[in-house]
Subunit: 663 residues, 2 copies
């Protein structure tokens, strides 16, 4: 059958425009993945022409449908669609410069390169898991602002690779549990992966698996436009998330290579491209789209204009309070009253001087901020009581009731992190979520995407050293601070007490383009910042917490739970007539951004001793040639925390001895 | 009904011994997880008494059944079983010292602490995924040595946490695909996780999900010994892996707390323990097991003695060649001829001076070693042709045919890494597997367990920098070398050419107690080690590859693909009359182990310039205060590799300029 799109250009011609652009761009770049865009061109054409709510002229319209290309290697599918539908920045020159330096058409879709790229994909499984965050964000905002203002779908194209990754299981079971009915996944069921037919590696009943996760499941011929249209229409009606398994031929149209792994990740080659042109009846030069076809596509790009205008009118009709709140949260602006709330909290804390674990400090900060920051959406990967992430008053977000502000993510650290990326990308909310610090390893690929995309996602990572005690080395992070500090564009905070915890939270919330890991203790710590300052001292990354009495002979640098140890060492040294200063370093990345004069003043001229209950990798840059590091040299052990600190020699005595040996 | 075990002690009393030890040990430690051992005591009792093939007197008997406590927080279940069945090292004193410094009874089971702990568990999902490696190792060795020699089951106890983790999906789909019929998972289906009832976080049809993965599935009352026995008997008959969902009550026996999250991760408390004793009819003091019960358990510990002896006789009857080969691979000894094969390869390479990517160098090494190392089991997470991991002659391991030596792991990086841990733990094979370097993030929790357990697992990580080019920042590792170097007990190798690649492979294979990551390029590199040395120069971690002509003024340190750049810089400096040496540093960890004199001699007295196409975090310790690092400062970009090196300033010119500015 031949479905018709607007302007009466046959469906196949519309889809072939995607195929031609994709194979030609990959050929020009001499690298890339033509197979997937050619295979999914029919599905994408139906989705964009019949369903996707968007307006190419205003690509950031907040209530647009989101389209996530989870199979990010097929980036030319997305770039073709953005060019064809007329997104202003996606010119034909950009398509021609696919995968070249400075172009917006990177090998994999990069968020921020161009509007219409809703999220960075490529690392498999991340797209579908991020999409859960989009769909959840939609429901949360819908509960707050109502159907007239927030009411959109999230569509995903995912391949075998995405669905074989473990993270996809966390994503689909979370989506199924929360009944995210407006999440629709189009599975490119082409039976091919890089190594060859998927039968080499999997025998899974993919549809059965989604059914077990509570999804609605359909299976169709992914080259039949009527079937695609009917399936998407049906999927939109369900109150559960939907999978549409689209049986497709990878590299559709390539006469000798279609259906084989050879189309997956390499250019087709001149001869095969010629054959494809013949097979598809596409007799146009590379990168030239006949005017009638381009016109038809451009019309699709404008289909949503009226809907967008209607939406704007409904927004304008909101009461001014509601409208301003909507605009504020969509813009990601913190509310008036935020800074005051932080300062009031700091002041009270400096007075009360609590002796609590910093995870509990964080709980107090959350409780103080939640009332002024309704956009704050908390959660934990099944460690709510341990991570102290749930604000006292927070209601639970659950299937069919999304008015709350707390998510029980389940034992799905990776899925949680990716969902938080999706929430942050969706906008209107600020996500934070907790697990144990050691399980940053489970989240790491998603944390990397937070950093690469520059998202305000806040990771609350508790039980951050051997100080967690008896759970032992499997649960004791020793290399995680270093491994996270190594990542570009990520703030790793390790506050020493409740005041610093509030300051770190403040910076994390104000950092719109940088995600944060806040590393927190299980064990109790004294308040070390006993004098209130309006200034956020942690914002400089490191600062002199306790200056030496007299001319400074040695500088003791510490983070988090070890600041207490450094202070005790300073006292002991003072008793022996040695003038030591203590530097608290809650965030190395911010300290490294300060000017040299400040850094020198803080670090001092004398020997420097750093103390942190973690391995020393990376600390050398602060120590100079006379300095030394006191911390871990290997994995931890299972025992009560005080014994472990002694056992591993992370004590004030050790700091004192090291200082004396160096002055 | 009341099932009887040996000595006619009623089943319930046998199981209650586990419950009592578990709750009392947790109480004494003031921390731990009593709920799971109490809930699964019936299942474990049936498994150990009726099925598990083991001999407590010879706990390392190679053909024993493997028991993996994937829900590692329930460690007291395992310690109780080891004590009760009479494993020599698991004394009652050790049980009393649960979670204390120096005891073998860590908070979570730690491999190496005591025989009977087959693998370290605690990070959820790792146990079940590692068990896939055990079951696969059994089949591989069975194919080589036959039923009389290798024929055992792998049993797993897994909880909701394990099964919610994404890695479990990779594990169960791989096991289902490979039809690992002797893998039996006992699911502790207690409906409780830390945050509360699992209904808070999941609505999954767990049984349906396993069926979709090709598993045999049964569901039983986990407190009915006859049902447990029948189910395990049935599971052993299937030719697919089996799930037995055991409906249990967490904290079974605790009158007020059973069935609730409060039994999960905290001691029951004195009052509740008293109530439990009454409810269970267990009127014995803490840590005292009545003699009849202990005798019955000890008899179970000896049940396997005859089977073990029969096995030993069958081994003795093998021809001497076969027997010696069996003993060799089980002991993990490399064969005679191994060193010669490496040396011959190195010699030939130094003569032929190939210009190839180091991933291709690694391919050549694998091809050279595979004939002498039949225990080498390769694989890739769907990147076989990119990782160059498949030896030319290697046959594929597949369902029903395990005689090969190569595994298509599918797009399951994390599952692959954990399965390799299981293969290494099983013994008799040496696993290696590949993916892209950037996806070490996906494997990281399992790599950490390789390191923590000290396993000879070899990670072949290709496409190791911006040198991969057009795939862009999502695929370009920049922080991964640092993040891996931060991990204790892990060798991170980055060879510069084919000779170094062979040397790094040699060290990795000889390192029985340390896993290795071998970081390899996508792009071609010249041979820099053009003079053959019998000595493995890479074994010192770093060495002077090209000494300065005349008195050394500056030292250029590089790894992998940047050694070529350093050599070019040396030439340019020489032309300007500046004497520079080039140090190749294929393994920082090994270099750091050398004595100070050697390290000083290699690094030299002058300024040091390090060049690596990655971020500089961690390099400061080699640079001194005058040194500098040339590399990345943030994420990469999508473009052809040569343009990227120029764009990011990682060039010989930059090295020359830095050197000139410093001398």
């Amino acid at each position: 059958m031949t479905a018709q799109t607007s302007q009466s250009v046959p469906h196949k011609q519309m889809a072939n425009a995607i195929r031609a652009l994709s194979m030609d761009a990959v050929e020009a770049a001499k690298s890339g993945h033509p197979g997937m865009p050619m295979g999914m061109a029919d599905v994408a054409t139906v989705l964009y022409s019949k369903f996707l709510k968007f307006d190419a002229a205003d690509p950031r319209w907040p209530d647009r449908d989101r389209f996530v290309l989870s199979a990010g290697h097929g980036s030319m599918l997305l770039y073709s669609l953005l060019y064809l539908t007329g997104y202003p920045e996606m010119t034909i020159e950009q398509v021609k410069n696919f995968r070249q330096l400075g172009s917006i058409t990177a090998g994999h879709p990069e968020y921020g390169h161009a509007p219409g790229i809703e999220t960075t994909t490529g690392p498999l499984g991340q797209g579908i898991a991020t999409a859960v965050g989009f769909a959840l964000g939609e429901r949360i905002l819908n509960a707050r602002f109502g159907d007239p203002i927030v009411d959109h779908y999230t569509y995903v194209i995912a391949g075998d690779g995405c669905l074989m990754e473990g993270i996809s299981q966390e994503a689909i079971t979370l989506a199924g549990h929360l009944k995210l009915g407006k999440l629709i996944v189009l599975f490119d069921d082409n039976g091919i992966s890089i190594d060859g037919p998927t039968s080499l590696t999997t025998s899974e009943d993919q549809q059965g698996r989604f059914k077990a996760a509570g999804w609605d499941v359909q299976a169709i011929d992914g080259h039949d436009p009527a079937a695609i249209e009917a399936a998407i229409a049906q999927a939109r009606k369900t109150d559960t998330p939907s999978l549409i398994a689209c049986k497709t031929i990878i590299g559709y149209g390539a006469p000798k290579k279609q259906g084989s792994a050879s189309t997956h990740g390499s250019p087709l080659g001149a001869e095969e491209i010629e054959g494809t042109r013949a097979a598809l009846g596409w007799n146009h030069p590379p990168f030239e789209i006949p005017e009638d076809i381009l016109t038809a596509w451009r019309a699709i790009g404008q289909q949503g204009a009226a809907a967008r205008q209607g939406w704007q009118e409904r927004v304008d009709e909101l009461g001014s309070e509601k409208r301003e709140e909507l605009e504020r949260v969509l813009a990601g602006r913190l509310p008036a009253g935020f800074e005051q709330a932080v300062e009031a909290f700091k002041k009270q804390t400096a007075e009360q001087k609590p002796k609590v674990a910093t995870r509990m400090s964080s709980q107090h900060v959350i409780d103080a901020l939640a009332p002024v920051l309704p956009e704050l959406i908390g959660g934990s990967a099944d460690l709510t009581g341990s991570n102290n992430t749930k604000a006292k008053e927070a209601a639970i977000i659950k299937a069919g009731d999304y008015a709350g502000s707390y998510i029980h993510y389940g034992i799905r650290e990776h899925g949680m992190a990716a969902a938080m990326n999706g929430l942050a990308l969706h906008g209107g909310v600020i996500p934070f979520g907790g697990t144990f610090m050691v399980f940053t390893d489970y989240c790491r690929p998603a944390i990397r995407l937070s950093a690469l995309m520059g998202l305000r996602v806040i990771y609350i990572m508790t039980h951050d050293s051997i100080g967690l005690g008896e759970d032992g080395p499997t649960h004791q992070p020793v290399e995680h601070l270093a491994a996270l500090r190594a990542m570009p564009n990520l703030y790793v905070f390790r506050p020493a007490d409740t005041v610093e915890t509030a300051e770190c939270w403040q910076i994390a919330l104000q950092s719109e383009g940088t995600p944060s890991v806040i590393s927190l203790t299980r064990q109790g710590l004294p308040t070390v910042r006993t004098t209130h300052t309006a200034e956020n001292l942690s914002a400089k990354g490191g600062y002199v917490l306790a200056e030496a009495e007299g001319k400074r002979q040695v500088t003791l640098i510490a983070t988090g739970s070890e600041v207490e140890i450094a202070l005790a060492a300073r006292d002991a040294l003072k008793a022996d007539g040695i003038a030591a200063a203590v530097v608290s370093m809650p965030c190395c990345e911010l300290f490294d951004q300060q000017d040299e004069a400040y850094r020198k003043q803080v670090l001092g001229d004398g020997p420097r001793i750093a103390v942190e209950a973690a391995i020393g990798f990376g600390w050398e840059r602060y120590l100079g040639e006379k300095g030394c590091f006191i911390g871990m040299t290997g994995f931890g052990a299972s025992a009560p925390a005080p014994q472990l600190y002694k056992h591993f020699g992370i004590t004030a005595e050790a700091v004192v001895a090291a200082a004396k040996a160096r002055i």
